[in-house]
């Protein structure tokens, strides 16, 4: 077993979120009803899951993005720093708020999200980001990043710069891609090397195309790999000349939160190791399985050993 600590530097752009996870006896939320909270936890959400998962696999993870000078955003960044994520690319805008999501979870496992995007003046692509980009081995962004009004343009510019410099760019559209403009989608497709998405998200980026055929269509716009995430059924990876499928690991599903973010970190880790696509798919699925069998997000994303234990249990021989 070898640990490649610090070998790869991976940059995540945007989607810096403070998740406030609030456990209450019952939903729905009703007027004038006072409920005592059973548990409260603050976790870095969104890209925070990706960044922590990547750090745990031994990669050097850098966060680019923007938060406000509020307590929730700062607390989430402090946790990322404690977890070993480099947050020097995080721009703190005074007198603005951070993207904050309050997740109300009831005893029956139902949840609602109360949230707000952080808003502030538009960010010009900082020189420090350009310098850091040149030192990185991979760049990751997602559809939520494009919904951060102050950040979207700088994020797309950074992705384009990385792509031009030959640094692989990974993009996960997520459900929020439905709110992206056609210009943003074109820019993403031009700049991305790898698209990671669910089947439901294929039409959002392909303007109507569905299934494996729709996903294959993405390859004609620039990306050279498309990975379709199929939850318990594993994933399919498409390139110009191959399509490989890995069925996933049959673990007990407890909580799917942050599974996609963790999957993306594992995919990039495996990709950078230059493993075969079969191995990339198996490893990413193992991370996804390791996540869904445990509850939580942020600091609850799987450790390298938890991924390893899935691989061992199913006799998959991947050493890292």
């Amino acid at each position: 077993m070898t640990q490649n600590f610090g070998q790869f530097t991976v940059i995540s752009i945007g989607d810096l979120v403070a998740d406030l996870i609030v456990s209450i006896p019952q939903l729905p939320v009703e007027a004038d009803v006072h409920q005592l909270v059973r548990q409260f936890r603050l976790e870095p959400g969104g890209a925070g899951n990706f960044l922590i998962a990547g750090t745990r696999l031994g990669m050097k993870m850098l966060a680019f993005g923007s938060i406000g000078d509020d307590t929730f955003g700062s607390a989430a960044m402090d946790i990322l720093t404690e977890e070993g994520v480099d947050t020097c690319g995080v721009i703190v805008q005074s007198d603005t708020g951070s993207t904050t999501v309050i997740v109300l979870v009831d005893d029956a496992g139902q949840h609602v999200f109360l949230g707000g995007y952080g808003e502030g003046p538009s960010i010009q692509l900082p020189k420090s980001w350009i310098n850091k980009l040149s030192e990185s081995q991979a760049v990751f962004a997602c559809g939520y990043t494009l919904q951060e009004k102050r950040l979207a343009d700088a994020a797309l510019e950074a992705m384009a710069l990385a792509h031009q410099a030959g640094i692989p760019v990974f993009f996960d559209p997520g459900p929020e891609m439905q709110n992206a403009t056609s210009e943003q989608i074109s820019s993403v497709l031009e700049s991305s090397d790898v698209i990671l998405l669910t089947e439901e998200e294929i039409p959002l980026i392909m303007g109507g195309g569905e299934g494996v055929d729709g996903a294959a269509g993405i390859l004609t716009y620039g990306p050279h790999l498309v990975c379709i995430k199929r939850g318990p059924e594993g994933c399919v990876i498409l390139s110009d000349n191959t399509a490989i499928q890995h069925p996933g690991f049959p673990v007990t599903k407890r909580d799917t939160t942050a599974a996609g973010d963790s999957f993306a970190a594992a995919f990039i880790f495996a990709y950078l190791q230059e493993w075969s696509l079969d191995k990339v798919a198996a490893f990413s699925n193992a991370m996804g399985a390791a996540k869904v069998r445990k509850v939580g997000s942020g600091r609850q994303v799987p450790t390298a050993d938890e991924v390893r234990s899935i691989l061992n249990r199913y006799d998959v021989d991947i050493e890292y």
């Binding site: 939320v29 006072h34 005592l36 409260f40 904050t100 609602v112 999200f113 109360l114 707000g116």
Partner: protein, 333 residues
């Protein structure tokens, strides 16, 4: 010199303005998320300090960034926070309050470090130079805060310190036996009619007041919302209608009302003047957004009652208002 010690929660209120309440699986994007200092007893402490009373807070907060938001307004108002301790693990109390556009609100309370105040922290020295101890009935809901509160109540009784209590809905349901045990020893009970019904099955406000007095409470302040309040002792009873004001937000109104009755007892004011002070504070608290440091104090009460003095038709009301003005004017701040 502490005239009053207050034992209860210090919180940070997280107010979220949302367009509507979402159903399970749905989301609601907040147009604004703001943090404000909160906690019912902390609010009462701030108002008492702003009235000029020597005020001492007994509580527990986290060792985190929310602690400063919660604590600073108390310090700025002049509240003695020597007995507010820090919990190394638990978070400062956070109350999540989604507010929809039409002003309806709901609350999710994470009481965090507040609940960790333990018996070991309640020592006799807390009651030096104190004549009243104020507690929240919420203190009886969870251990070890519950046991710590009982210890404080015992020490107060041993040292001749009077006891005052504010009751909310949850304790009226879930801490009934504690509350029944504590009623006979109360100098002041502040309670809403809804809570009173839950606690003692009273049919009318007058029945509730009578029953509490029969149980041994010396002074009952029964809150009737917009209809004002009933203030009653064993020998006197006043029904006081609320003041007409431009209401912005009702946060902290009950806490401010409570401060009025406590202050009146500390200063030996008449029952009626105490009721007028409590009603004034309650009304003024609704004219500002939020609780904590924006709640009214001595200056706001003096200005309000001085302006209203000539508008009172009843001679009694003029007398009560004059008494409040006189006491507040002569009190050293």
């Amino acid at each position: 010199m502490g005239e009053i010690a207050l034992f209860g929660d210090i919180n940070v209120d997280v107010l979220m303005a949302i367009p509507r309440y979402p159903g399970p699986g749905e989301d609601a994007m907040a147009t604004q998320i703001t943090l404000q200092p909160g906690g019912s007893v902390a609010n009462t402490a701030i108002v008492l300090a702003k009235l000029g009373a020597q005020t001492r807070m007994i509580s527990r907060i986290g060792d985190d960034r929310w602690a400063e938001i919660a604590l600073q307004p108390l310090i700025d108002s002049g509240v003695d926070v020597t007995h507010v301790t820090r919990d190394p693990i638990e978070t400062t109390g956070l109350i999540f309050i989604p507010v929809v556009i039409d002003g309806e609100r709901t609350m999710f309370s994470y009481r965090g470090a507040n609940l960790q105040k333990s018996v070991a922290e309640i020592e006799r020295g807390i009651f030096t130079d104190v004549s009243l101890l104020h507690i929240s009935a919420y203190n009886f809901l969870v251990s070890p805060q519950r046991e710590a509160t009982w210890r404080a109540v015992e020490l107060a009784a041993e040292t001749g310190v009077g006891l005052t209590m504010d009751v909310g809905v949850e304790p009226a349901v879930h801490a009934k036996s504690d509350l029944e045990n504590i009623l006979p020893g109360l100098s002041i009970l502040v309670i809403g009619f809804e809570e009173a019904q839950l606690l003692i099955n009273a049919k009318t406000p007058q029945d509730a007041v009578k029953e509490f007095l029969d149980k041994g409470v010396q002074l009952v302040g029964l809150k009737l919302g917009r209809d004002g309040c009933i203030i009653a002792s064993q020998s006197e009873r006043f029904i006081l209608p609320g003041f007409e004001v431009d209401t912005v937000d009702t946060t902290g109104a009950g806490d401010a009302f409570c401060s009025g009755l406590i202050y009146a007892m500390l200063k030996d004011m008449s029952l009626s003047a105490g009721g007028m002070l409590a009603n004034t504070l309650g009304a003024l608290a609704t004219t500002v957004w939020g609780g904590g440091p924006v709640l009214p104090g001595r200056e706001e009460v003096l200005e309000f009652l001085s302006k209203r003095l000539e508008e009172f038709n009843e001679v009694e009301k003029k007398m009560w208002a004059r008494e409040v003005i006189e006491v507040l004017s002569s009190a050293a701040v």
